[in-house]
């Protein structure tokens, strides 16, 4: 039993003192018995606080929590302060509206939930103990299981994807790629390629239309995220209007955290989680989110939704460079790792492999990587030792690469061999505007593709890019959201810290209390009132069994026409009172607006039907049961 701190007691008292007089005294009279005037309200509040601070009362209150209470409380635990209407709205697929209204109200009557400015929160006196009782199990299905080891969009996947885009210079998915990603289904790959293509183009990580290029600076920023953060970013991306970007990331982070804890759930439970977290984080829930989660591999659908295990950060092992120039490692590379820029992916799996070839290395050079950087990268990261033959091969390729430099697409500065080709090859003469100096040629910009092709066919390794110093920026596209989005995504992982699988077994109602009510010498109305409060789990100790009517008549039905009319009249205009109406074929929860009479003296109830508050006029004679519900305890 936790020792109650003064601050908790003060919080309790503060909240209670904000209640309306009617509700305050309703609760006070129930728990403290008869209240005689004159009274001192602060003393009453202290008395109530002391009452609920008693260990046996706390134990009793908690022992009476049943499974549906637990569902509502667990929901509050996840969502945080929440309105009664939102609780009812979230659970409306599971329970009838009337039942939900009754149960949410009842938790307030039992002082397990308190109202804080319209939002329901746990009673600060039992806060920790209630949280301990909360569970994911009743909320998200009876049979949750462990997360599975399914394929998802990890940073290593993103790295592999960018490697392919860089190589192919296209965003199109090809069926042959599936062999590179054996743990992914072909269908998922197709969707992932499309999704990443769209998102990364939008964020200008990939630029260009027909022939695309990777902006490696941006890519490195993105690859510096861990798996969880990357997924947060990708899940949050559709919601990232400037103002709610951090909310969207927070939503995604929470969602992944809860899914990791839940493991698996049915569709209804998943919808509940999404709506609940949308509410919690202030994000507008979109139906397309589910599809995105599935594409990204956060979830897989195998009869039920199954969450995939998102790896904790695992540092990349040393690179094993084999004699066939295959470079393999396990774990995740750091954001600025350059292997994927100088090699071709051969497999992404438990052990990931890339193969370094002259062509792939040339691509790296085209992407502005320097030979020195590649060399030192390979030397620093290799195990057991650096492959000398690979280094040699790359060195020779680099030397060849340097034989020609293209400035601004028109000036070629070459070495002797290429100069010989340029001066002697007939087919290229038409593309030379002038020989500026020995080994320097002015080439036609308009036929650049043609002369490049001729040079390549002649055995010249032509750089794909123009030399940087002379780069003319024709069009600059920027997405200011990118840095912000990535920055916001660098969040600490949220872990769902509520127990996963607790099942409630509420204590039965205390027979001795019922007996005490039965044997008391109270009036019939007093006994009925006590019996009703006892059933509502509001009577916890014998001291509460005193001769008084706290609620008055709360129910009238059958031939008690006047009783029904009386209840309706009594509820008119009271915001905290709802009426449960049992009609021949439906049950309605209403707020009474007015009771009027026809010329034949028949009573008509004008009421707003909750939750939509549609106004209806209902003849009281058609109602076979009216029950009064305390709806708002505030």
């Amino acid at each position: 039993m936790a020792t109650l701190t003064e601050s908790r007691k003060n919080a309790f008292k503060t909240l209670l003192n904000r209640y309306s007089e009617e509700n305050y005294f309703y609760l006070a009279r129930n728990y403290l018995g008869l209240i005689t005037t004159p009274f001192h309200k602060p003393a009453l509040t202290t008395k109530l606080c002391n009452f609920f601070s008693l260990p046996e009362i706390e134990e009793k209150v908690l022992s009476l929590i049943d499974e549906m209470d637990q569902i509502i409380l667990s929901l509050v635990n996840i969502a945080g302060p929440i309105t009664g209407e939102d609780i009812i709205s979230l659970l409306k697929d599971r329970y009838s509206y009337g039942k939900l209204v009754r149960r949410v109200s009842n938790l307030q009557e039992r002082m397990i939930l308190l109202n804080d400015g319209g939002l329901l929160i746990f009673n600060p006196l039992f806060d920790e103990q209630i949280r301990d009782l909360c569970s994911l199990k009743p909320l998200f299905g009876e049979d949750p299981s462990q997360v599975q080891n399914g394929a998802y969009c990890s940073t290593e996947f993103l790295r592999a994807y960018l490697n392919i885009v860089d190589r192919e210079q296209k965003l199109t998915y090809k069926e042959e790629f599936s062999t590179l990603f054996p743990s992914y289904s072909s269908e998922q790959l197709k969707l992932l390629f499309a999704l990443l293509g769209e998102v990364l183009s939008e964020q200008c990580v990939i630029v260009g239309d027909k022939r695309v290029e990777v902006d490696f600076e941006k890519a490195h920023t993105l690859l510096a995220l861990n798996d969880r953060q990357l997924l947060c970013m990708l899940v949050a991306e559709p919601f990232t209007k400037e103002k709610d970007r951090s909310k969207a990331v927070n939503f995604a982070n929470n969602l992944i955290g809860y899914l990791q804890k839940i493991g698996s759930c049915d569709n209804l439970s998943l919808q509940l989680l999404l709506k609940l977290l949308s509410l919690k984080t202030g994000i507008e829930y979109e139906a397309s989110l589910l599809e995105r989660l599935s594409t990204l591999g956060v979830l897989s659908l195998n009869d039920i939704w199954q969450a995939n295990h998102i790896e904790e950060e695992s540092e990349r092992s040393t690179l094993v460079i084999d004699s066939d120039n295959t470079v393999s490692y396990s774990g995740s590379c750091s954001g600025d790792d350059i292997l994927y820029r100088i090699s071709d992916l051969t497999v992404l799996d438990r052990q990931t492999s890339y193969q370094v070839t002259a062509q792939s290395f040339t691509r790296g050079l085209d992407g502005n990587l320097s030979w020195e950087k590649v060399q030192s990268y390979l030397e620093e990261n290799s195990y057991p030792q650096m492959s000398e033959s690979l280094l040699k091969m790359l060195g020779i390729t680099h030397e060849r690469y340097q034989q020609i430099t293209i400035y601004d697409g028109i000036v070629l500065v070459t070495e002797d061999r290429v100069t010989r080709l340029l001066t002697q090859l007939e087919s290229i003469q038409a593309h030379i505007v002038a020989t500026v100096a020995p080994n320097t040629f002015l080439m036609k910009r308009s036929t650049e593709q043609a002369w490049r092709k001729i040079l390549v066919q002649s055995g010249v390794l032509v750089p794909a890019k123009k030399a940087e110093a002379y780069l003319e920026v024709v069009e600059e596209r920027e997405n200011p959201n990118f840095e912000l989005l990535v920055g916001e995504s660098m969040v600490e992982a949220v872990t769902a810290d509520i127990p996963g699988m607790k099942k409630m077994q509420p204590a039965p109602l205390d027979k001795s209390l019922r007996l005490a009510i039965e044997v008391s010498r109270f009036t019939k109305a007093e006994k009925a009132d006590l019996e009703q409060r006892f059933k509502a789990k509001m009577i916890l100790v014998k001291e509460q069994i005193v001769a008084q009517v706290v609620n008055g008549v709360v129910e009238a039905g059958g031939f008690d026409y006047q009783g029904k009319v009386g209840l309706c009249r009594n509820a008119v205009g009271k915001k905290n009172i709802a009426l449960q109406l049992m009609l021949p074929e439906q049950e309605l929860i209403v707020q009474a607006l007015e009771v009027a009479y026809t010329a034949d003296k028949e009573a008509l109830l004008k009421a707003a039907v909750m939750p939509d508050m549609e106004v209806k006029i209902i003849p009281v004679s058609k109602i076979f049961l009216v029950r009064q519900l305390r709806y708002h305890l505030v």
């Binding site: 094993v320 084999d322 066939d324 393999s328 497999v347 438990r350 090859l425």
Partner: protein, 553 residues
């Protein structure tokens, strides 16, 4: 993660860390149910395939054992899909059983499961071979034994062939302890293991298959070991006459068979004997394009107890078909490089038999059973005057020009100087280039047009140390045993052929008291570089790395 040597990938490949202290023990388990895919320096790749699992099942290795071993050796938890695959695929073995029937004209094909039976009947190419028998079985004509097995493997159901192979006409023979040449002769342990892996207990499911061993590691001895265990009439099919003579000489040297018991069946001589050595060429010879193959009958009607397909990766298409009809005969395929450019490796496995034994090249090198070899790629410029013709040539012309680059001759000259005491083979693709080299240095040359007698003579002189350098065309790519050759200079090759590169290296891998050197001369800045990179792939996967040298112009 735990300290184990194996990483199991989701595509069912297994990566073995060869530097791990337990890698040998792990490998010993893997070879029972996996295929070795590549074995470079640090990480060897094995794969679980349907064939390897069925092969394991036919040898009595249960799926429970396989999954237990995989999980035991794996560094990370093994994916469910891999375990499911093992159980699913292995469970298919034994669902279709081929056995003797009461009717001597037919075999009995028993099928366990109505679904499999229905699936078989629905396939036209299978259904046409099935003669209805009862609810659970069909009869099949005896000559369809190979074909039905081939088709059912394609369908995903291996046939559990329980018909013992036919014992051929007995031919008593023993391996010698001392060769006729007077040297001590011992069959090496891995050679014994290879033979044992193939023959097993000689019961159903054994006695046929393919053995993959590196060049120079003594596949011929494995063949002779099998012959000595079966003691039966044997046909050996090999790639060329020189190889025929080598087999003949080896058998004479290392077994107690007599000269008259060993026959040669070639274009030159046709003398079928108790042990006959022939060429693929003679078997597939036909006088006209549409006509029959007159010598294929040697294969089908020779009443062989054992057929050895040397260099089985060279098995020509007509022999495939006949091999399908020879399922009752003990048979073995020998090769170092089971790579077929036509992609028919699977058919070799299903007709000759699955891979029964394979060993990484670098392992035999470490044990000293093949020579340590250093590979170099030497890049040489094109002469200036050829740059423009090269630039305007088409792809084929470019390759030819690059291959025949005259500056390669300077490199050859220099390399020969570098190895004054070695026995050197200069190997090339283009006869004119080889003739130029031979003429320039005054060297003997063997090409396709060199008469066999002359070839034999030159090989003999080389073996006996009379000549140190021999220029050879692709006729020497395969099956030529020149034990003392320690340097090979490749001046040109067949485009990107990986097996050719490996086989050429193989010519210098016989163990000897010195290291071997393989030089591949490639024209710089030409498409020959790309082809060379492709040619080197197989060897790179066996752990060989090429040191690149740029030849100063």
């Amino acid at each position: 993660m735990n300290d184990k040597p194996l990483i199991v990938q989701s595509d069912r490949t297994m990566l073995l860390d060869v530097h791990h202290k337990d890698s040998e023990a792990c490998r010993a388990d893997l070879v029972k149910f996996c295929e070795l895919v590549k074995s470079p320096e640090h990480v060897h790749t094995y794969t679980l395939s349907a064939i390897s699992l069925w092969n394991a099942a036919s040898s009595g290795v249960k799926s429970d054992y396989i999954t237990e071993r995989i999980q035991y050796w794996s560094r990370f938890p093994v994916g469910e899909s891999v375990l499911f695959y093992v159980n699913d695929i292995a469970s298919r073995f034994g669902k279709v059983i081929l056995s003797e029937s009461e009717n001597p004209m037919y075999y009995l094909l028993t099928i366990k499961g109505a679904r499999i039976k229905a699936e078989m009947s629905a396939r036209k190419n299978i259904a046409k071979m099935l003669v209805p028998n009862d609810e659970q079985s069909f009869l099949i004509e005896k000559y369809n034994r190979g074909e039905i097995k081939l088709q059912l493997i394609k369908l995903g159901y291996p046939v559990d062939d329980r018909i013992p192979l036919e014992k051929g006409i007995p031919v008593p023979m023993n391996l010698r302890e001392k060769t006729r040449g007077g040297y001590k002769f011992v069959v090496r342990e891995y050679q014994k293991q290879a033979a044992q892996a193939l023959l097993g207990d000689l019961g159903p499911g054994s006695g046929y298959g393919t053995i993959v061993l590196p060049c120079g590691s003594g596949k011929t001895v494995v063949g002779m070991q099998i012959m000595s265990q079966l003691q039966t009439k044997t046909l050996i099919v090999t790639t060329n006459i020189a190889a025929v003579h080598q087999w003949r000489d080896e058998i004479l040297d290392k077994t107690d068979l007599k000269r008259e018991q060993i026959g040669e069946y070639t274009g030159e001589r046709k003398e079928p004997r108790e042990v006959t050595v022939c060429t693929y060429q003679v078997l597939t010879y036909r006088p006209d394009k549409e006509g029959p193959f007159p010598h294929l009958e040697l294969l089908t009607k020779g009443e062989w107890g054992l057929i050895i397909y040397d260099e089985v990766h060279m098995l020509p298409a007509p022999v495939f078909k006949v091999t399908a009809e020879l399922q009752a005969v003990y048979r073995v395929g020998l090769t170092a490089t089971l790579i077929r450019e036509d992609g028919r490796e699977d058919e070799v496995f299903s007709l000759v038999g699955p891979k029964r034994f394979d060993v990484p090249w670098n392992e035999l090198q470490q044990q000293g059973y093949i020579a340590e070899a250093f590979c170099h790629e030497i890049r040489v410029d094109l002469p200036t005057e050829m740059e423009i013709p090269y630039a305007v040539g088409n792809k084929r012309e470019k390759f030819r020009m690059a291959s025949e680059n005259p500056l390669k001759l300077d490199v050859v000259k220099d390399l020969v100087k570098r190895h004054p005491d070695d026995f050197i083979l200069i190997i090339g693709q283009y006869i004119s280039q080889l003739e130029t080299i031979a003429a320039m240095f005054g060297l003997p040359i063997i090409t396709g047009s060199t008469p066999n007698a002359k070839r034999e003579e030159l090989y003999r002189l080389f073996k006996e140390g009379e000549i140190h350098i021999l220029v050879v065309s692709k006729v020497a790519n395969f099956a030529i045993d020149l034990p003392d050759a320690s340097v090979a200079i490749q001046v040109s090759g067949t485009f990107g052929s990986r097996s050719e590169e490996a086989q050429r290296l193989g010519r210098i891998l016989r163990p000897k008291d010195r290291a071997s050197f393989f030089y591949s001369i490639v024209t710089r800045y030409s498409n020959e570089e790309e082809f060379a990179a492709n040619r080197q792939k197989f060897l790179a996967e066996q752990g060989y790395s090429y040191e690149i040298e740029v030849w100063p112009h």
